[in-house]
C-alpha cells in the first residue's frame, strides 16, 4: 500500500481537522445555516462514508452528495434497452459489474442473465473487444457507462476495433458529461450550496478550466479533490478557506494526478468518436440539455443504437422516489418517504440506492448511525 498510506495518516488528519475547526469557528457565527459543500463525484461519496469523514467534521459543515455516480443516474428506460439487447439471439452483452443490479422496469441485467441471456462482466471495454475477436460468429455489445473518466477508454476501443477490422463489436453508449449537470444543479431554484469538491478522475481528463463558469458566473468555489481521506479533508479545508476569505475560485488539490489543462490525447480520442446529444435523461434529475454523448455518424457501424433496434421507451422514475431532491441536497436520504423501507440496497427503488457510490446506499450501509436509527426504528 505504498503511495496510499500517506494519504490516510491519522496524525495529518487531526492537524487538518484542527485547521478546519478554526475556520468554521470564524465563519459559522455569521451564518444562519450550515456550510453546504457538494461532492459531485460518487468516488468521493464512497470515501466519505468508508472513512466516516462526516462523523469527524464539525456539525456546521454539511456534505451534500451529488449526482456523480453514473450507475445511479441511469434511467430505467436505458436499463430496459440493455436487457432488450442482451436478450437478442446470438448476442454477448458485456458490462461493468456494478451495472448488473440496476433495476429496469421489468428486470435487471442480472435477472436477464439468470433467465439465459449471455451477459458478461468485463473490467475494460478492451476485454469486450477481445471477446468479439474470439467469437466472430456472435455480436458483442459493450455497455458504455460513465463520465469523462471512462469515455476515453471506450473511444480508444472503438478506434482499435476499426483499425483491426472487427465488425461484430458495438457500443451501447450511455456516457454522460459532468459540466451541464453541475450547471443544471446550480440553476435549480431550491438550491443552497456554498461550494464544491470537484471530481478528481473526470478532471484528470478534462482539466480544471471547464469549471471556470462556476466561480465566475455562480460565484462558488470549487476544489478538484483526490479520493483518499486526507485529500477530502484537505479539499474541504481549501473550500472553507475560500469562503472565509470571500473568494470563489477553481483550485486543484489533486494536482499530483490532475493537470490543469487535462489530457489532450484522451480528449482528442473522445471528440473524434463522440458528439454531444441534444439532451440526455437522468434518473432523478430528468432531462438535461447536452449532458450525454453519442457515437458520431462516422463510426455508426460501432453504435449499437443504430445497429440494433432498441425499444428506447422512456420510463418515469417511481413516484415515491425523491432522488432528485436528495441529489440537489434539498433533503437528506433519510427524509425520503421510502428510504430504508420500500427502498433498500437489496431491492432498490430509487437510483441512489443502487450503487455503493449512491448517497442513499452509502447512508444505508455505512451511514449516520443516529439518523438511520431514528428512521428504521420508526418504520
Amino acid at each position: 500500500m505504498k503511495y496510499v498510506d500517506e494519504f490516510r495518516d491519522p496524525e495529518k488528519a487531526k492537524f487538518l481537522l484542527r485547521e478546519i475547526d478554526k475556520i468554521v469557528a470564524a465563519i459559522a457565527s455569521e451564518r444562519d445555516r450550515p456550510i453546504s459543500i457538494m461532492e459531485v463525484c460518487g468516488g468521493h461519496t464512497h470515501s466519505i462514508f468508508k472513512y466516516g469523514i462526516e462523523t469527524i467534521l464539525p456539525d456546521a459543515i454539511e456534505l451534500i452528495h451529488g449526482p456523480g455516480c453514473p450507475v445511479c443516474v441511469l434511467p430505467m428506460g436505458r436499463v430496459d434497452d440493455c436487457v432488450a439487447l442482451a436478450e437478442m439471439p446470438n448476442m454477448i452483452f458485456t458490462t461493468f459489474g456494478d451495472a448488473m443490479r440496476v433495476p429496469g422496469s421489468r428486470k435487471s441485467l442480472m435477472q436477464a442473465r439468470a433467465e439465459g441471456a449471455d451477459v458478461r462482466m468485463v473490467y475494460s471495454p478492451l476485454d469486450a473487444l477481445e471477446l468479439a475477436r474470439q467469437n466472430p460468429e456472435k455480436e458483442v455489445v459493450f455497455f458504455g457507462l460513465g463520465f469523462e473518466t471512462t469515455m476515453p477508454s471506450t473511444a480508444l476501443t472503438i478506434l482499435q476495433g476499426e483499425a483491426d477490422g472487427i465488425s461484430n463489436f458495438s457500443l451501447f453508449c450511455n456516457h454522460i458529461t459532468i459540466i451541464p449537470t453541475i450547471k443544471a444543479i446550480l440553476d435549480s431554484p431550491d438550491l443552497q450550496l456554498d461550494g464544491f469538491l470537484g471530481p478528481g478522475h473526470v478532471s484528470m481528463v478534462i482539466g480544471t478550466d471547464p469549471y471556470r463558469f462556476i466561480s465566475e458566473h455562480y460565484k462558488r468555489p470549487l476544489v478538484v479533490a483526490g479520493f483518499e481521506p486526507l485529500d477530502v479533508l484537505h479539499s474541504v479545508w481549501m473550500v472553507l478557506k475560500q469562503i472565509a476569505e470571500g473568494r470563489a475560485e477553481i483550485e486543484n488539490q489533486y494536482n499530483r494526478i490532475v493537470p490543469d489543462d487535462g489530457n489532450n490525447v484522451a480528449l482528442e480520442s473522445v471528440s473524434k468518436v463522440f458528439q454531444l446529444r441534444e439532451f440526455f435523461e437522468w434518473r432523478g434529475l430528468g432531462s438535461i440539455d447536452h449532458s450525454g454523448v453519442r457515437v458520431r455518424d462516422a463510426y455508426a457501424a460501432y453504435d449499437a443504437e443504430k445497429k440494433f433496434s432498441v425499444p428506447a421507451i422512456k420510463i418515469a422514475d417511481p413516484k415515491s422516489c425523491q432522488c432528485g431532491e436528495v441529489l440537489k441536497g434539498v433533503i437528506k436520504p433519510w427524509d425520503c418517504k421510502v428510504f430504508g423501507r420500500a427502498c433498500k440496497p437489496e431491492t432498490p427503488l430509487g437510483a441512489l440506492m443502487v450503487s455503493s457510490e449512491g448517497a442513499c446506499a452509502a447512508y444505508y450501509q455505512y451511514g449516520d448511525i443516529e439518523k438511520i436509527h431514528e428512521t428504521t426504528d420508526a418504520a
Binding site: K50, G52, I53, D98, I369
Partner: protein, 360 residues
C-alpha cells in the same frame, strides 16, 4: 453410494481395481455399471484407501461406544463446493471440501471424525484432474486425522454443472461441557481473529485471471479443529467460534451482534489485512471485511481471558498472527461499528447480494 467401511476385525476385503484407461469422463461413467465402478475405484477408493477401507455396503457404520469416547453430543453438518477454478494458489476444490466441512464441525467444539464425499462430475472432465483432487482430499483428511468413509458419484451432461461439484458431510463429537453459540456474547467480551483476513477471496479472484495481476496471494485454506481445541483447552470463557467464510468477517460479526443482542465495535487499525489484499481490494473496489476466508476464525472470549486465549492461538501453526480486533458493547445492539484509522465511525452492515460468486 459406495461404502468405504471399517471391517470389524481390521482386515479388508478388496476387490480387483482396474485403472481406467480413457483420458476423460463420459456419461458411461455415471451409468451405474462397470465403467462407473472402475471410475470410483480408480479415482476415489484408491485415494481414500486405508487399512480399514472396504467398499461393501450402502452406508458407513460406526460403534456408538467409539464415538462416546470423544464427548457427549454428535455434530453433523454438510456443505457443497462449487469453486471456480478447481485449482488455485494455496489449494483446490478437494482440500477446500475437506477443510471447510471439518471447520464447520470444529467451530461448534466438535472433534471431527468422518466425512462423506459426493461428487457431481461434468462429462469431459479429465480423469487425471479427478485423481489429483481425490488425492488432495485424502491428504487433507489424513493431515486432519479424519476419514472419508462413504461417497457417491454422478456424471452429468456437459453444461449441467461446471467440471466438478463436491459435497462433503461431516460427523463429529462435541466435547463434554463445551457450549459455543453466537448468542453467548456479553458486553465487554473481546473479539479475536487468527490472522490476516481476505486471502481466500482475493486468491480465487486472482486465479480466475480476469485481472491479469501477478499478485502472489494464496488461499488460507486450512483445517482449524486443532487450533480450536488448543483455544478451548487454554480458555474456559470462549463464547463462540465461527469460521469467516462467505461474507467474511463482517458477516460473522453481524450475525453475532444480532444473535447476542450486543453492539460490536472493531478498530480498523487492529484488523489484520495483508498489504497485497488491501491493494487488490483497492483496485477492484472490494471491501476486504467481506472477502471470504477458508482458514480464519473469529471468536469472542471474556475480557480477562483475552491474553491467555491469544497466547494459546499464537502458539499454534494456524494461529500465528492472532490479534484482538474489538469488543462487544451494550450500545446499539445488533450493530457492528468500525472505528476507522481516521477516528471516524462507520457501520459495517451485512453484505447485500453477492460480492463475488463461486468462491467456495
Amino acid at each position: 453410494m459406495t461404502n468405504l467401511e471399517t471391517a470389524e476385525n481390521g482386515t479388508t476385503r478388496r476387490r480387483r481395481r482396474d485403472r481406467i484407461n480413457v483420458p476423460t469422463v463420459t456419461l458411461a461413467h455415471g451409468g451405474g455399471g462397470k465403467a462407473m465402478r472402475d471410475l470410483i475405484d480408480d479415482v476415489f477408493v484408491s485415494a481414500f484407501d486405508n487399512p480399514s477401507l472396504a467398499p461393501l455396503e450402502d452406508q458407513a457404520r460406526f460403534y456408538l461406544a467409539d464415538l462416546a469416547g470423544h464427548g457427549d453430543r454428535l455434530a453433523f453438518t454438510t456443505d457443497s463446493y462449487v469453486v471456480s477454478p478447481l485449482f488455485f494458489p494455496g489449494g483446490d476444490i478437494g482440500k477446500l471440501a475437506v477443510c471447510g466441512t471439518i471447520n464447520d464441525l470444529a467451530v461448534g467444539g466438535a472433534v471431527p471424525l468422518y466425512l462423506s464425499c459426493g461428487a457431481i462430475i461434468e462429462e469431459g472432465v479429465e480423469v487425471d484432474t479427478l485423481r489429483k483432487i481425490a488425492r488432495s482430499m485424502a491428504d487433507a483428511a489424513n493431515d486432519a486425522g479424519v476419514q472419508i468413509v462413504t461417497g457417491d458419484t454422478k456424471v452429468v451432461d456437459r453444461g449441467a454443472c461446471d467440471k466438478l461439484f463436491l459435497n462433503t458431510t461431516g460427523v463429529g463429537v462435541i466435547r463434554t461441557g463445551i457450549d459455543l453459540a453466537a448468542s453467548n456474547v456479553e458486553s465487554g467480551d473481546v473479539f479475536l481473529v487468527n490472522g490476516v483476513l481476505g486471502d481466500h477471496g482475493a486468491a480465487i479472484l486472482n486465479a480466475r485471471g480476469d485481472m491479469a495481476l501477478s499478485t502472489p496471494i494464496e488461499s488460507d485454506c486450512a483445517a482449524l479443529h486443532d487450533l480450536i481445541h488448543s483455544l478451548l483447552d487454554a480458555c474456559s470463557s470462549v463464547r463462540f467460534v465461527r469460521d469467516a467464510t462467505r461474507g467474511g468477517l463482517a458477516t460473522v460479526l453481524n450475525e453475532v451482534a444480532e444473535a447476542s443482542e450486543v453492539g460490536i465495535q472493531i478498530q480498523e487499525d487492529k484488523t489484520p489485512i495483508r498489504d497485497e489484499v488491501k491493494g487488490f481490494c483497492e483496485i477492484l473496489g472490494l471491501d476486504p471485511l467481506y472477502l471470504a476466508n477458508e482458514g480464519k476464525l473469529v471468536c469472542a472470549v471474556a475480557e480477562e481471558d483475552a491474553d491467555k486465549a491469544l497466547a494459546a492461538m499464537n502458539a499454534h501453526k494456524h494461529g500465528r498472527g492472532s490479534v484482538a480486533i474489538g469488543r462487544a458493547v451494550a450500545e446499539r445492539p445488533g450493530r457492528v461499528v468500525m472505528e476507522t484509522v481516521f477516528g471516524g465511525r462507520r457501520i459495517v452492515d451485512m453484505l447485500v447480494g453477492e460480492q463475488l460468486p463461486r468462491i467456495c
